[in-house]
């Protein structure tokens, strides 16, 4: 405590001694200083709006360019995602030439008694039916012509009922035995003979 009191008293005395001196006045041309300061202040005041305008434009561009790019890229990603989601599934047709003869010779027929045969075809998987195979049907068409596309005959003695008669059946049903002429049709001659025969009455 005593040390602090002595120290404080010593500080006061040295501060009083130093305070008895004062700095000399500065030797500056006051008018020149005020003129130069006024010029500098006016320049600063004139440059401030221009700098503010330029800085404002620069800040606006800099602040908006990256959000804009981010929004564009996000929108593009969403559009591509929707397109990819709504695109129909791509169907790839692969031609496989399978020779039935080779397959039957290579693989021994399984025993129908011991192994239950799986149901290969049903209404939901018609492409598994060998008779509906595209490759085999194409080969049949190339070999036998368009008649090969006719549906296979049904087993048994069930008569085939057709809702629409064929051209040959229609010709046979014509009067005057015209159906016996077997496609040797001359429409003009037929109409003449039919009109002359009087059967229309």
């Amino acid at each position: 405590m005593l040390d602090n009191t002595n120290k404080q008293a010593g500080d006061d005395s040295i501060e009083q001694l130093l305070g008895s001196f004062s700095p000399a006045p500065v030797e500056i041309d006051r008018d020149q200083l005020m003129f130069a300061a006024g010029v500098r202040a006016a320049q600063a005041a004139a440059e401030l709006p221009a700098l503010t305008l330029g800085a404002r434009i620069g800040n606006r561009v800099r602040d908006r360019i990256w959000p804009a790019l981010a929004m564009v890229s996000t929108a593009a990603a969403l559009i591509l995602a929707v397109i990819a989601w709504r695109r129909p599934e791509r169907v790839v047709v692969v031609d496989r030439l399978v020779t039935e003869q080779i397959a039957t010779n290579a693989v021994p027929p399984p025993s129908h008694d011991s192994v239950p045969q799986p149901q290969l075809t049903d209404d939901k998987t018609p492409w598994l039916d060998p008779a509906m195979n595209y490759v085999r049907r194409r080969e049949a068409v190339l070999r036998d012509g368009p008649d090969a596309l006719s549906p296979p005959p049904l087993a048994g003695d069930v008569p085939v009922s057709r809702a629409i008669p064929t051209q040959r059946e229609l010709l046979r049903e014509l009067p005057g035995g015209f159906g016996l002429q077997k496609y040797q049709i001359d429409s003009e001659a037929w109409w003449q003979s039919w009109l002359n025969s009087g059967e229309r009455l």
Binding site: N6, A9, G10, D11, S13, I14, E15, L17, L18, G19, S20, F21, S22, P23, A24, P25, V26, E27, I28, R30, L33, M34, A36, A37, G38, R40, A41, A42, Q43, A44, A45, L48
Partner: protein, 160 residues
């Protein structure tokens, strides 16, 4: 702040702190007046105006003085300090210490202690303003000030 307002405040700063600023700059250079003038002109161009203009001026004057000392001829600095101090007329009579002796004692201080002492005693700055001007902490400034007073007491032979 308008240019006219800035000039008025500069005139006030010059009349109140011009001498102390020149004394502060005289620690490093003999062209102390030029440093003060340049600092005041730079202050006029500041936009916005610094919050603590006095502390800002001391910092700029110090930088200017150091640059002047590096570029120009270095004279004997204690002569500069001696020319920047004058003895006040006192009722108690003549001071026991001569200006030259005081300047020599100041010259013998560490630079960090001397600049704090000059700013505090003759610049009338607070410890906060000195800390801001010297980019230091208030406790450091206070410690340097106490050390400078003790050193000056010893150099000048002032007893308690």
């Amino acid at each position: 702040m308008s240019p006219e307002e800035k000039c008025d405040r500069l005139a006030l700063l010059l009349s109140q702190h011009g001498g102390a600023l020149a004394l502060f700059a005289a620690q490093w250079t003999d062209a102390a007046d030029d440093c003060v003038q340049e600092a005041l002109i730079r202050l006029a161009g500041q936009a916005p105006w610094p919050d603590n203009a006095v502390a800002w001026l001391y910092r700029v004057v110090k930088n200017q003085a150091i640059n002047q000392a590096r570029s120009g001829d270095r004279r004997r600095r204690h002569e500069g300090l001696a020319s920047r101090l004058r003895q006040e007329a006192s009722e108690t009579g003549e001071s026991p210490v001569d200006v030259g002796v005081l300047a020599a004692a100041l010259e013998g201080l560490e630079p960090a202690q001397r600049e704090v002492l000059v700013a505090k005693v003759w610049g009338k700055l607070t410890l906060e303003q000195i800390a801001e001007a010297l980019s230091s902490s208030k406790s450091t400034v206070h410690r340097r000030y106490e050390a400078a007073l003790a050193a000056m007491r010893e150099k000048l032979g002032v007893t308690c």
